[in-house]
């Protein structure tokens, strides 16, 4: 499986670390609602098909990317940079 890092270009999945489901939001740092935290840490949908997920390019630039991946075919249809920086247009 190849993930196109916005900074480094297409790289094998082994250069990345799977971070988790990107369709869920981490509660605010000061939120103490245990239900919300429980949902965030433990509850996941397990879709057959399109799945939005975070990966970190740990062997490369260490950026985080949001990846839209099909859990059946492994086809990756979208990769976007996450975080406060914008990816530079490399063309």
């Amino acid at each position: 499986m190849i993930i196109k890092c916005p900074h480094c270009g297409p790289r094998e999945a082994s250069e990345y670390t799977y971070i988790g489901d990107a369709s869920i939001q981490r509660p605010d740092h000061n939120d103490t609602d245990m239900e919300k935290w429980s949902d965030y840490v433990f509850m996941r949908e397990n879709p057959r098909g399109a799945h939005m997920e975070h990966w970190q390019h740990t062997s490369g630039c260490r950026s985080f990317v949001k990846v839209l991946r099909d859990t059946v075919t492994h086809e990756i249809s979208d990769v976007t940079l996450e975080g406060p920086w914008q990816a530079e247009d490399k063309s």
């Binding site: 900074h7 480094c8 790289r11 062997s59 920086w85 914008q86 990816a87 530079e88 490399k90």
Partner: protein, 174 residues
């Protein structure tokens, strides 16, 4: 490039990382450009060699600089206040090799799955990857001419891997 594959250990006296934030990016870029005496910084993935200083842009706001000037790190630290950029001394953190000559690309492709041809990776490009589970940062000066650094603790393993991979081509230690 020469026909003979050659391998040489290298170490630079100073090596430093500079990291800015989006709101201080412009200022950081300007300070660095002025320090280097250039108009604009290279784009992400490129590096330049200026007055014996190598300067690379690893990702937006993330820069690496190295040279044999042992004062470089302290000079750079003085340029930035804490709210503009972080400066991290990694002078001892990396050890490296110069790898050049025929089959350098083939040797590297034993361990990394990246297209190293000039079309895909032009000269003066920097990239980070891993070989044999060892994190490396690689500077392609031109076709079959590289500077490659691993973390210091991994260096013995990395060097052994390079030498073993070079056996089938024959090589010279320079």
């Amino acid at each position: 490039m020469s026909d003979q594959l050659s391998i040489k250990e290298v170490r630079y006296q100073s090596m430093v990382l500079i990291k800015s934030w989006p709101d201080s990016a412009q200022k950081t870029d300007a300070i660095l450009a002025a320090f280097l005496g250039i108009d604009a910084l290279p784009v992400v993935g490129d590096f330049i060699s200026q007055n014996d200083i190598y300067f690379a842009v690893i990702s937006p706001g993330h820069f690496m600089m190295f040279s044999n000037n042992e004062l470089l790190c302290s000079e750079i630290s003085k340029l930035f206040s804490a709210d503009i950029a972080s400066v991290v001394d990694i002078s001892h953190s990396r050890c490296g090799i110069s790898l050049n000559g025929k089959n350098s690309d083939n040797l590297l492709n034993k361990g990394i799955a990246i297209n190293l041809t000039d079309d895909d990776l032009p000269g003066m490009s920097v990239l980070q990857s891993s070989i044999h589970s060892i994190g490396i940062i690689m500077f392609k000066l031109q076709h079959d001419d590289y500077l490659i650094f691993s973390y210091s603790s991994f260096f013995d393993s990395f060097y052994a891997w390079v030498i073993d991979s070079a056996e089938e081509y024959g090589y010279a230690l320079t």
